[in-house]
């Protein structure tokens, strides 16, 4: 055994609590420790993932209570893949903001890293846990750190955005609790595997209502239209790296939760087409809204929402191919959208309104950042030979193989819209005259490094997707195999 899944929750949580204390010893530790922790977790997760891919999932029982009575963590190919992805993004965000936070002073930096660690703890917990109430707790942890991070710049707008997030987050908690209550009242258990094995005994009405409440609650976090009102504001007002973290970590975790409920826990076949419907709605509304935005981060936020809609659509096909496509898309989206947020926030760093027009002519002052933003834009709209193309291709292939030609056509039409607004921004960066009162800010070395790593990944995956597709194939097979999940968890005897 190379390590246990519980470390993924325990270590960052511990680090989060230690950060203020360590800060008293030496202020730099506030910044260094999260990095060390994340690096360790990265190594750990890669090791575990390798192990899991070969020899099957690891089920970790907490406090000695065997499932279904105790809380258990499941590190399978599917959840392991997502955990690795999240930790990696956490690392990138940390790297990016390592020096960036020096400018904001010790107190905010402390809070920032503390909340970031909490956010990662929560998100990783959501993915790993095998218990629905435990998941609720992790969702709350994620949410609360998310509210805090949104309000990082203690201005009026940030506070407002944070409040919106908080408000919808509370509704989500309520709905989620209600859904858990219904299930618990019917089955008397909170363990996912246990619920999954018994779900066919539940009265269909309760089942459906519970699922609807789950989807609605998690949909708020996963930015599903029309539940995603908080998202554009939060993305726009939070610092750039936080936007990347939201897009890459929080949303991924919430989508994971929805998928886990629909694929593993419930056995309602209509849920798949429902996923397609809400996914399509989200995609279309978000992309069309994005084209008319005048703030860069808002645009990116809408684009991010749209991409998640597409992920849901891909999951909604319900085939292994669809799941593969969705996971691939999640991976690419995490990498590319993070790159866009990270580079984008430097492009509008010193401007007050963060308007798109303020990126005009930035390539002369920020050549590498601009290039990476352009690369990200090209990749996210799915132009070959960049990473986004392969995932888009898999989504479309999955759609065609499921005979959803209408969905296929709509996705492609929306892609054209997406293309337009990204290219408009890229054109502005490269071919417009710089506004006079815009004062470009050079990115720090760490930030540049973080962005370059992401950019390189885009190229690597674009030219040779096989580096990652093997893992994703296994992960998707893992998700599709519901019986195996139930057996793996329930067979654990302490």
């Amino acid at each position: 055994m190379v390590g246990t899944p519980v470390l993924f929750v325990a270590i960052p949580l511990l680090a989060a609590f230690l950060i203020p204390l360590l800060g008293m010893i030496w202020k730099e530790l506030v910044r260094i420790v999260p990095g060390l922790v994340l690096m360790y977790l990265m190594v750990l997760s890669i090791n575990l993932l390798n192990h899991v891919l070969v020899s099957g999932p690891i089920v970790e029982v907490i406090a000695g209570w065997a499932p279904p009575f105790g809380i258990n963590l499941v590190f399978s190919a599917f959840s392991g893949f997502l955990v690795t992805l999240m930790i990696f993004l956490g690392l990138v965000v940390w790297l990016y903001s390592y020096r960036f936070k020096r400018n904001v002073g010790f107190e905010p930096a402390k809070k920032y890293f503390l909340l970031l660690m909490m956010l990662i703890t929560g998100a990783v917990g959501i993915v790993l846990t095998g218990d629905i109430f435990n998941m609720f707790v992790f969702i709350e942890i994620t949410g609360i750190s998310g509210y805090g991070l949104t309000a990082f710049y203690t201005g009026r707008d940030s506070a407002e955005a944070s409040f919106k997030y908080l408000m919808l987050g509370s509704i989500a908690s309520t709905l989620l609790l209600l859904a858990i209550m219904i299930l618990y009242s019917q089955l008397g258990t909170l363990n996912m595997a246990e619920i999954a094995s018994k779900i066919h005994t539940v009265n269909p009405t309760y089942k459906v209502i519970s699922l609807i409440l789950f989807i609605s609650a998690l949909g708020i976090e996963a930015e599903i239209f029309p539940l995603n009102g908080w998202a554009p504001d939060a993305y726009a007002e939070a610092p750039g790296p936080v936007g990347a973290a939201f897009a890459g970590i929080v949303v991924k975790a919430s989508v994971y939760a929805i998928i886990r409920y629909i694929f593993t826990i419930f056995d309602i076949s209509g849920a798949y087409s429902f996923l397609i419907i809400i996914g399509m709605m989200t995609l279309i509304i978000a992309e069309t809204a994005a084209i008319r935005q005048d703030k860069l981060k808002r645009m990116l936020a809408y684009s991010s929402i749209g991409q998640m809609g597409l992920v849901l659509v891909a999951f909604g096909f319900g085939t292994e191919e669809g799941v593969f496509a969705a996971l691939f898309l999640m991976l690419n989206h995490a990498i590319i959208k993070s790159l866009l947020f990270l580079s984008g926030s430097y492009l509008v760093y010193n401007s007050k309104d963060k308007k798109i027009v303020e990126v005009n002519g930035m390539h002369k002052f920020l050549p590498i950042t601009s290039f990476l933003f352009a690369l990200g834009a090209f990749a996210i709209v799915g132009l070959p030979p960049f990473a986004g193309f392969w995932s888009k291709l898999s989504v479309l292939t999955a759609a065609a193989d499921s005979h959803m030609l209408f969905v296929l056509a709509l996705v492609l039409i929306v892609s054209v819209i997406e293309l337009v607004y990204y290219l408009r921004v890229v054109n502005r960066i490269y071919f417009f005259k710089k506004g006079e009162n815009v004062d470009p800010k050079k990115p720090t070395f760490n930030a540049l490094l973080a962005m370059i790593v992401l950019g390189a990944l885009i190229l690597v995956i674009g030219f040779y997707p096989d580096v990652i597709t093997g893992v994703i194939h296994k992960a998707s097979a893992d998700l599709m195999d519901k019986t195996k999940y139930i057996n793996d968890v329930l067979s654990i005897k302490q």
């Binding site: 509704i171 699922l211 609807i212 609605s216 069309t288 759609a399 290219l423």
Partner: protein, 615 residues
């Protein structure tokens, strides 16, 4: 096979190296650039053989690269024109900004076009297709002129086409479970009728966009004229041919097996004819040489589309021969415009006049290309036009042939406008300092002119490869033995024998030329264009005798009713409407927390209410 890997590695590596070499040394960059276009070209023609293919796989998808005689023809266009344009570009780009950017995209464009023709599977086809699109898009916005409109329009149309094709690809894949073109062709016969109709349509949309066919051509004038001219010659000459390449492939391998395929052909042929006519009319109207040539390219592609859409062997030959010719003459013409732009700084007919004595070589190349473009014997354009007409007449397209004839006759107007506008007419002081373009720019143009001339009398040089290519596509060959000679035939046995005609023309021309200039040539002296008799008066030095504004006014007045309608306007209206819709969509996000909470509640309630329907 190794050669493919090496070729594409050189292209890619060359592109990146060339880009960064600019930071070190400009000449090194030029050399690298030339090398990364010419070396793969050499490797391709020396090292790649027919029939051998390179299979490999990526992301679990089997891919296959290889060539047959048909794709070889297009590789010839791409690499031939690409090499010449590359030589030209060295001269053209001297002292310009963003050389690295230009070279990078140039190499990528050539690479992607070669990739398209060697792709034997749909995925690498699509990948190269998209690389071609974005590298050419980056060229279109190179000048930074009007990019949010022209550039985006180009990309949006390309994307619509490409995505239509992608849709076709994945649908085919859902049936055959492979991406090989060969398998698509095999499986096509067994598909349902609905798919049999839709799949060619989806593909043809993509190809029609690239070939700038009506009504998908609106991107072309802006894109062609905004790109740097050294690239536009490749853009119009070779890149647009990729559309033709695909179109022929689809028409021959898929549509011809469909009983309803006749409708595809008819619609395409007519759209091609209308494209030719409308493109010509708009070309006549332009006062900017770039725009004129851009519209002219649209029109010429119209002929080509008509030819290949007819689908008879003669039609195919005509279309493909015209495609080769178009690459030659339009490549040269755009180069000539580039040379003029470089030497004078403008490309507007109303500003430049009388360059013939200052840029004689450019004029000669332009003259040859214009003759070829107009389809006048004895240059190659005529052969293509002749076969086009004959194929139209012999395949019962009586009204279409009239339309095509109208287009090409009206085309003389812009041909003359081009030559007159730049080279002839009054010589003005303003342009006295103009010098001939450097040799790197002139030599490619002259070389291509020579090709055009040779092809006019010995079309067999190109017709034979075309014929081989068509046989590879499955045509029954009925003319093969004839292409050895310089005779062109139609289905009814009528023919034109080109060699005696060429010799007669040369003989007559020389005889009368000598008759005019022989006696006392030394006695004749050159007089300036001010020294003329306008109704017996001798004009003064400062008198403005330049005629360039409203050059084709009388003709345009005659066709005014046709030109009042512009498809572009409808597209613009449509786009405006869409933006309005999007604005409305945007307002869904009111920014008000209560509204958002309400959305959540409404969502939950609605889903709960309709749960029986949904789940």
């Amino acid at each position: 096979m190794e050669t493919y890997s090496i070729i594409f590695a050189i292209f890619l590596g060359g592109a990146v190296l060339t880009y960064f070499a600019g930071k070190l040394n400009s000449i090194l960059q030029d050399i690298l650039f030339l090398g990364s276009v010419l070396v793969p070209t050499y490797l391709f023609f020396s090292g790649v053989s027919f029939g051998s293919a390179m299979p490999f796989s990526l992301e679990g998808i089997s891919l296959l690269w290889g060539i047959d005689h048909y794709s070889w023809l297009f590789a010839l266009i791409v690499l031939g024109l690409g090499s010449l344009a590359a030589v030209y570009a060295i001269g053209y780009m001297k002292g310009k900004e963003r050389k690295g950017y230009f070279y990078f995209n140039f190499i990528l464009s050539v690479m992607s076009m070669l990739g398209i023709v060697v792709s034997q599977d749909l995925i690498s086809f699509f990948i190269f297709w998209e690389i071609m699109t974005w590298s050419s898009y980056l060229m279109v916005i190179y000048n930074g002129k009007d990019i949010q409109r022209v550039g985006i329009k180009y990309f949006v149309f390309s994307a619509i086409g490409a995505y239509a094709m992608l849709m076709g690809i994945v649908i085919v894949h859902s049936i055959t479970h492979t991406f090989f073109i060969e398998d698509m062709i095999q499986a096509y016969g067994h598909m349902s009728l609905q798919l049999q109709i839709w799949i060619p349509i989806l593909f043809l949309i993509a190809f029609a966009v690239k070939a700038a066919m009506m009504p998908l051509h609106v991107w072309a004038p802006g894109a062609y004229s905004n790109a740097p001219m050294a690239y536009t010659s490749l853009f119009s000459g070779a890149l647009s041919k990729m559309g033709v390449y695909g179109m022929v492939l689809i028409l021959v391998t898929l549509v011809s097996r469909l009983p309803q395929g006749i409708w595809f052909r008819e619609v395409l042929a007519w759209l091609g004819g209308i494209t030719a006519a409308v493109g010509t009319l708009w070309a006549i109207k332009q006062d900017d040489a770039k725009k004129l040539l851009a519209y002219s390219s649209v029109a010429q592609l119209g002929y080509i589309i008509t030819g290949v859409a007819i689908g008879t062997e003669l039609g195919m030959l005509a279309g493909l021969f015209l495609a080769v010719m178009h690459a030659l003459f339009k490549g040269t013409l755009f180069m000539a415009v580039g040379a003029i732009e470089k030497q004078t700084g403008t490309t507007n007919f109303t500003e430049i006049t009388g360059l013939i004595r200052k840029m004689p070589w450019t004029f000669l190349a332009s003259l040859m290309s214009i003759i070829a473009l107009a389809g006048i014997p004895p240059l190659g354009g005529f052969v293509g036009k002749w076969m086009l007409y004959e194929s139209l007449i012999t395949s019962d397209h009586y009204l279409l042939v009239i339309l095509i004839f109208f287009a090409s006759t009206a085309g003389f107007l812009y041909c003359y406008k081009f030559l007159f506008g730049f080279f002839l007419g009054q010589e003005e002081k303003e342009w006295e300092h103009v010098k001939e373009a450097p040799a790197t720019m002139v030599v490619p143009m002259i070389l291509m002119s020579v090709f055009m001339f040779v092809l006019g009398t010995f079309p067999g040089i190109i017709l034979k490869p075309i014929n081989n290519g068509l046989m590879d596509l499955g045509f029954v060959d009925s003319y093969k033995h004839l292409w050895e000679t310089s005779v062109i035939f139609n289905n009814w046995g009528d023919h034109v024998i080109l060699q005696p005609i060429l010799y007669s023309i040369i003989a007559i021309f020389l005889f009368f030329l000598i008759l005019v200039v022989w006696k006392g040539y030394k006695g004749t002296r050159y007089v300036t264009t001010k020294d003329i008799s306008t109704s017996g008066e001798v004009p003064k030095e400062d008198e403005n005798l330049t005629f360039s504004v409203g050059f084709t006014q009388p003709f345009l007045r005659a066709v005014a009713p046709v030109m009042r309608r512009q498809i572009d306007k409808y597209y613009t209206e449509f786009a405006k409407g869409l933006e309005g819709l999007f604005e409305f969509m945007r307002r869904i996000y009111t920014g008000n927390a209560q509204t958002y909470a309400l959305y959540v509640v409404v969502f939950v309630v609605i889903v709960l209410l309709f749960k029986d329907v949904l789940f």
